[in-house]
């Protein structure tokens, strides 16, 4: 299922960030942060709460201007594009989103078409096709006429994902798209991400807390701690007990995933000391 061909990102990727300094007011979240998203990869970003994953994603999507450094999209500083042009190339699913009361699923997903619409041409058949495809891919077609505020948390999450898909961008950034989802739907969403990536249509970046799923699905894994990239590369090469300990302060052993052979993190038991310290 996973391919780990892209340990070394080739030069000139579509989305790169160089020497970023990110801050909210006086609070500096990250400094000297450089990152390169390999084209056509499924890149997963992992790291503890508050280490700056969402902040990084927001700066990559131009929601947060870096105080230093730059984000480069297709060879040009992202701040120099017209805003709709960025939105046609790069889509973001924020960690939390608000749906207006009384909006239907179909209507919400259709709002993902905003960057493709012109003032005098509010709707086209392309829009119809994109919305229908997004609803089907996320298994939400049967919810189309329901109200978003009357859905379960997991259904809602999939509807937001559908909106991001309807935007039809070659680059897709998803901030924890599997929160609220049961294990089956988590796998379903990640399968969808893998499909999008494997079909060569898109480069997908996902922030994920579920380490084992990240290690299984990622073609490129980035581990962050306190605003810094600690390690990046193919999951098999970088996931070690030392890395997990340094990122999460958690002792663990690593075994092979029986399904895929990718690394599986098994946290140390609380009572008995871990017997295996090396993978």
């Amino acid at each position: 299922m996973t391919t780990d061909l892209q340990t070394q990102p080739p030069p000139g990727n579509r989305l790169r960030a160089h020497d970023l300094k990110l801050q909210y007011g006086e609070r500096v979240v990250a400094e000297n942060l450089s990152i390169d998203i390999p084209d056509h990869s499924l890149t997963m970003i992992v790291g503890p709460n508050a280490c700056g994953k969402s902040t990084l994603l927001r700066s990559l999507a131009r929601l947060l201007a870096p105080n230093h450094g730059s984000v480069v999209l297709d060879g040009q500083d992202i701040s120099r594009y017209p805003s709709k042009e960025v939105a046609r190339r790069l889509g973001l699913l924020p960690q939390t989103s608000i749906a207006p009361d009384g909006i239907t699923v179909a209507d919400l997903v259709a709002r993902g078409r905003f960057p493709h619409q012109k003032f005098l041409r509010q709707w086209s058949t392309d829009d119809d096709v994109a919305v229908t495809a997004a609803l089907e891919r996320t298994n939400t077609a049967d919810l189309a006429s329901r109200f978003v505020d009357e859905l379960s948390g997991g259904q809602r999450q999939r509807v937001w994902l559908a909106m991001a898909l309807a935007q039809e961008t070659p680059l897709l950034l998803l901030d924890e798209p599997t929160t609220y989802l049961d294990i089956a739907h988590q796998v379903e969403v990640l399968d969808l991400c893998a499909e999008l990536q494997e079909s060569g249509e898109r480069t997908v970046v996902v922030v994920l807390h579920e380490l084992n799923l990240a290690a299984r699905y990622a073609t490129h894994l980035i581990a962050m701690r306190a605003g810094q990239v600690v390690a990046q590369g193919a999951p098999k090469e970088i996931v070690t007990p030392e890395l997990i300990e340094s990122v999460y302060h958690l002792r663990c052993s690593i075994i092979d995933d029986p399904e895929t052979g990718t690394p599986l993190v098994v946290p140390a038991a609380r009572r008995s000391a871990p017997r295996v310290r090396e993978s």
């Binding site: 927001r58 999507a61 960025v86 939105a87 973001l92 924020p94 909006i103 905003f114 509010q122 006429s145």
Partner: protein, 344 residues
């Protein structure tokens, strides 16, 4: 334009057809009300004669229709659409379902402008107020936004609402202080501040029309961006909406609309609050439908309220604002109870 895109195209079309039909029905209702507003009042004029009065004229009744009721009716249309569209814009921009021209300090600013015109510039004619009202509305708006977005946290719906309340309180205090100093100003202000279309003549209509037309066009220009903004600032920026520009143009539009409407008719409550909510129960939260509907529903409420005020107390009159409040308040309570208040 489309509110819902469901996989079977028939559903899309039926939703769209329903909304287009609704617009046509609303337009028809408005035309009938306008005709009634020309014909009925202290002295009824047969409908057949209304047309003759407008085109030929001559009799005393014709003069009433053309010089009194026609400007009054047209002003009702202008003020109603201005307040309803401004209310919808404010609710979208502040993401606050209770937003209306009174909330963000705009009406208080316009009122202070009018009071200053009366007290310090000796302006008694309605047509002299408009610039003062617009300037007062703009200053209040700028003050509310400056106060609401001061500090590191930036503007938020709650901070804007609080700033609006604070500025309104301060301006109301200033208005009282000025008004109480002079009995002529007091009387003039009292007559204006009841909120009515009564006694408004053609020059007033001609003077406020451009501001309201520009405000409405600006508002209609923003509808898709408002749809994006309704998903939250991050999502809107992610979709490529220009959030800062949308906010700025939206504020300019609401200031023009509220300033002009308030200058012409005095402060009129509930239209800006109730109409968008009533409309939303039919159109849903898509601004591409919401604003055109407000453009018709606002005048319907305004003209109907003015007409009712004329008919109920014949041969006297009830102020329009009183009728809109009496009609608006129960409708609003009903809407809140019927459904969790339809939000943005």
């Amino acid at each position: 334009m489309s509110t819902a895109v469901l996989s079977p195209p028939t559903t899309v079309n039926s939703v769209r057809r329903r909304l287009v039909l609704g617009l046509a029905v609303a337009a028809a209702i408005l035309v009938v009300l306008m005709a009634a507003s020309l014909a009925l009042g202290a002295e009824h004029v047969p409908f057949g004669q209304v047309w003759r009065a407008l085109t030929v004229g001559g009799t005393d009744a014709d003069v009433i229709v053309r010089d009194v009721r026609l400007p009054r009716t047209l002003l009702g249309v202008l003020v109603g659409s201005a307040l309803a569209v401004a209310g919808a814009l404010m609710q979208a921009l502040s993401r606050n379902p209770l937003a209306e021209p009174g909330l963000l300090g705009v009406n208080a600013g316009a009122s202070l402008g009018v009071v200053i015109a009366m007290a310090y510039f000796g302006i008694g004619a309605l047509s002299g107020y408009i610039w003062f009202a617009l300037i007062g509305a703009s200053i209040a708006t700028v003050a509310v936004y400056a106060l609401g977005s001061a500090g590191a946290a930036g503007a938020s719906p709650a901070r804007l609402a609080l700033a609006g309340a604070a500025i309104t309180a301060a301006l109301t205090g200033a208005i009282s202080a000025i008004v109480l100093l002079s009995s002529t100003v007091f009387n003039g202000f009292r007559a204006w501040s009841v909120g009515t279309l009564s006694g408004r003549t053609a020059p007033v209509v001609i003077q406020v029309a451009p501001f309201i037309v520009i405000g409405v066009v600006l508002g209609l220009f923003l509808v898709s961006s408002l749809n994006a903004l309704a998903l939250g600032e991050d999502a809107a920026k992610g979709l490529g909406a220009n959030v800062a520009r949308t906010r700025l143009l939206g504020v300019v539009a609401t200031t023009l609309l509220c300033g002009a409407a308030t200058a012409a008719a005095g402060p009129i409550s509930f239209v800006g609050l109730v109409v968008p909510h009533m409309v939303r129960t039919f159109t849903g939260p898509d601004h591409r439908w919401l604003l055109p509907y407000c453009l018709l529903a606002g005048p319907i409420l305004m003209v109907a309220a003015d007409l009712a005020g004329r008919l109920i107390a014949r041969p006297g009159e009830l102020p329009t604002a009183l009728v809109t409040a009496v009609v608006g308040a129960p409708v609003f309570v009903y809407l809140i109870r019927r459904r969790r208040m339809a939000g943005l």
